[in-house]
């Protein structure tokens, strides 16, 4: 318990040190005018007159990330289950997933915009990257039950689907949740990048317009919100992952 407290203290201290350094860089202008003092960014964030603008953008990005994440999780788990039940399809699915992941979202963007429209593109970009991460982590998880368990189910006369449900899936949960902690930051990142291609609302839109209009505080505020969002989703995924490991590993 005391060692956990110590880690927490170190963590907080580290963040404080970083903030102080950032503040010093900002006030001294060490890295030029695009690095404002942190206090100015905070003031912008807490100014009620900015809340509607920031709030709308945040809500748009979060809902795209959530929808895309949900699609990605369902699709990733679904493909992994298909690959496990129909081993003939597994190599094809592996290669297809690797191919999708190897093509950068930027390169796919024109095609995605044509098919899914400007508002749909962020959701699809999130879904694609989450599908890949969850597919890989779930597939390796479904393979992780040891030989003793497979032997047990074969002497019990279990059909493949029964073994899948009673051993492979529970044994896969820790790896699946590992995948979720990786997917969490990718969700916010994917949504933000997806919004660069002409979406009407979102943190990504704020990035683009703040850069074009040289509104440094707005740019930084949007970045802070994106990072905070990522951290919160990541933290939630990490808590869930720990609980799952305690139960299933």
């Amino acid at each position: 318990m005391s060692s956990r407290l110590r880690t927490a203290v170190y963590g907080v201290a580290g963040v404080v040190v970083l903030l102080v350094i950032a503040q010093i860089i900002g006030t001294t202008g060490l890295l030029g005018p695009t690095w404002p003092p942190i206090t100015e960014v905070a003031a912008f964030l807490f100014d009620p007159s900015n809340h509607r603008l920031l709030g709308n953008a945040l809500a748009a990005t979060v809902s795209e990330a959530a929808l895309g994440g949900l699609i990605g999780i369902v699709a990733g788990i679904g493909f992994a289950l298909i690959a496990a039940l129909l081993p003939l399809l597994a190599p094809g699915l592996d290669r297809f997933a690797a191919l999708i992941d190897a093509v950068p979202a930027i390169a796919l963007a024109p095609f995605l915009i044509l098919v899914f429209g400007r508002e749909g593109t962020p959701v699809i970009i999130v879904a694609l990257s989450v599908t890949f991460i969850i597919y890989i982590s779930t597939s390796s998880g479904l393979d992780s039950a040891g030989r003793p368990y497979r032997d047990l189910f074969s002497v019990l006369g279990a059909r493949r689907a029964v073994r899948l449900g009673r051993v492979d899936v529970p044994a896969a949960l820790p790896k699946l949740f590992d995948g979720l902690t990786l997917a969490a930051p990718a969700m916010i990142l994917g949504a933000t990048i997806g919004e660069w291609f002409g979406a009407r609302r979102g943190l990504g839109v704020l990035f683009v317009s703040a850069m074009q209009n040289y509104r440094i505080e707005l740019l930084w505020s949007a970045a802070v919100l994106a990072v905070l969002c990522s951290l919160i989703v990541y933290g939630a995924a990490l808590l869930a992952q720990r609980a799952v490991v305690r139960r299933f590993a």
Binding site: Y149, V155, L156, G157, R166, V167, P170, F248
Partner: protein, 272 residues
């Protein structure tokens, strides 16, 4: 306690089919890296009659678990044939008529003791006989630990849970791989006694792998002594001791004569 046995015989009416095990000319080689291979078994001929209890003794690494895995249908013999009740071992496991307690306990870590023991019912798609499960839990001395997870149990308790799981469907054939290895001497003898009692009632065809010569002689109709590298059968001892209380039996000179002879055989085997 005898109600367990009555219940068992009610839920598992004798199928009338024979349940003998036959290994004929069985050899097993495992491929190793770079084209090398290891011969785990060579020329194994062994018949276990319907309702017979056979114990397998031998030094570590001589292939006892390999014999058991071949009978369980988990490994294919490289040459030779294996049959259980005239059919393949897989046919027996597909019919949910095989009970196995493995050397590694293989309890599912996310299930409680009770859930682990009821697992064979779930896999077979049969309704759980809770009274039977309850009595098996008491029989292996795990009463009060039904809702514990395996990681909170000692090694010996896990082994007892996996014995209960192997017995729960009243199998036709029972395969036990050093099931009492992690138990203290006293609990071990108590479990031996319980197993002997269940077994006398149900007459399950049983193959028991053990390192304990006393245990083998106490429980088995025949004791098979193996030698290693490659694994072969060195000697088969028919045990024909008068039916007596275990503690009484272990004190008898006939019992000691057999145990000493088999122990001597194991010692020379190890030295070889």
């Amino acid at each position: 306690m005898s109600s367990v046995l009555q219940q068992a015989s009610v839920t598992a009416p004798s199928t009338g089919s024979t349940r003998e095990i036959a290994l004929t000319g069985v050899a097993k080689t495992y491929p190793l890296k770079r084209g090398a291979s290891v011969t785990a078994l060579a020329g194994i001929d062994l018949e276990i009659a319907d309702g017979e209890f056979v114990a397998l003794l031998g030094p570590s690494g001589c292939g006892k678990s390999t014999v058991l895995r071949i009978v369980a249908g988990l490994e294919q013999p490289s040459t030779g044939t294996v049959s259980v009740g005239g059919a393949s071992p897989q046919a027996l496991s597909k019919a949910h008529r095989l009970g196995v307690a493995f050397q590694e306990h293989s309890l599912l870590p996310w299930l409680t003791v009770r859930q682990n023991i009821t697992l064979p019912y779930k896999v077979a798609g049969r309704p759980v006989d809770t009274a039977h499960v309850r009595e098996l839990i008491d029989l292996v001395g795990l009463g009060g630990f039904e809702d514990a997870r395996p990681k909170h149990l000692s090694g010996g308790m896990r082994q007892r849970a996996s014995i209960a799981r192997a017995l729960v469907l009243d199998p036709d054939v029972l395969l036990l791989d050093e099931p009492f290895g992690a138990l203290d001497a006293v609990t071990r003898r108590r479990m031996n006694k319980e197993l002997a009692r269940i077994w006398a009632e149900l007459r399950i065809t049983t193959l028991l792998v053990t390192h304990d010569v006393d245990e083998a002689v106490l429980l088995a109709d025949r004791v098979v002594v193996m030698t290693g590298r490659p694994g072969r059968i060195r000697h088969i001892e028919g045990i024909d001791l008068p039916l007596r209380e275990h503690t009484e039996l272990t004190r008898s000179p006939e019992f000691h004569e057999i145990v000493d002879r088999l122990t001597g055989m194991l010692e020379t085997t190890k030295a070889a």
